[in-house]
């Protein structure tokens, strides 16, 4: 799947991976990732366009009676698989780094 994985996109994927089955709100995602709304929403739109996220409007219940419904987001099964694959590939690519750093220190290159 062709998707530009900027550091901000990776932050959002990680935020969703924390509790993948839970619905999340835009403002909560903004607070947990530290991203501003102007950065967050375009990324959410791209992820939803690529069917990695599913969106829904909050249904009114006793807790939120009288409040306007909010838009919620969570991973689709494809999105969850994609995010896990990305996490694994990044973990695999960073495995060599400590060894490389140690070797650089040994040889006085660090």
């Amino acid at each position: 799947m062709k998707l530009k994985l900027s550091p901000q996109t990776l932050l959002i994927l990680e935020a969703f991976l924390d509790h993948p089955a839970d619905w999340k709100y835009g403002y909560d995602l903004s607070r947990s990732t530290g991203l501003k709304s102007g950065t967050l929403y375009p990324i959410l739109m791209r992820l939803a366009d690529r069917k990695l996220l599913e969106t829904a409007w909050e249904t009114s219940g006793p807790d939120n009676l009288g409040k306007p419904p909010r838009h919620m987001y969570r991973f689709t099964p494809e999105g969850m698989q994609f995010a896990r694959e990305q996490r694994q590939s990044r973990a695999a690519s960073s495995v060599g780094s400590p060894v490389l750093n140690e070797a650089q220190n040994l040889w006085g290159l660090g």
Partner: protein
């Protein structure tokens, strides 16, 4: 803002507005958070509108040029995309060149205020050279951002202009 948004993005604008309502209702987040949220959302919506407009323009250009979308995913094939990218680059470079050409008298008058007389060299150094450098700089930036087709499109008129100047100077 909602009425100006492309139809496929209306739900997202609604979502941003509802979130803003929530931040406004919640006293602990404060009005400043709501203000910055609204500003960020406005920027995001504006960029989406521009993106929609750009996609529409590209589609119209593709229709004019007879480039058909590929069957899968209703997206243009890579040759069509590259062609459009190169044509876009050429168009941008030519538009920028025309603007600089129209500004040449203003630049010459400004140089005159600093005591630089109007000459072939002053024209080359104050109009053509900066235009070339800006276009080449933009092409390098676009190349680094994986927009090679547009970068090539930018470089084509720049190279022709450069060759024209070299031939002109050599003939003198």
């Amino acid at each position: 803002m909602l009425s100006l948004t492309p139809a496929e993005r209306r739900a997202w604008v609604e979502a941003m507005l509802r979130e803003l309502d929530f931040i406004g209702l919640d006293q602990k987040h404060g009005d400043w958070a709501a203000l910055f949220w609204a500003l960020g959302c406005t920027g995001a919506i504006f960029r989406e509108c521009l993106r929609g407009l750009g996609a529409w323009l590209l589609k119209q250009c593709a229709n004019l040029l007879g480039i058909r979308p590929s069957e899968e995913g209703n997206k243009m094939n890579s040759t069509g995309k590259k062609t459009l990218g190169v044509l876009t680059g050429i168009g941008i470079a030519l538009a920028f060149g025309v603007v600089m050409f129209l500004l040449r008298n203003v630049i010459a008058d400004m140089l005159l205020a600093f005591g630089v007389q109007r000459s072939t060299w002053s024209h080359i150094l104050s109009v053509i050279l900066p235009t070339e450098l800006i276009v080449i700089g933009a092409a390098i930036l676009l190349w680094r951002r994986q927009r090679a087709a547009v970068a090539i499109g930018l470089l084509v008129p720049a190279a022709l202009m450069g060759a024209h100047v070299v031939v002109f100077l050599a003939s003198r």
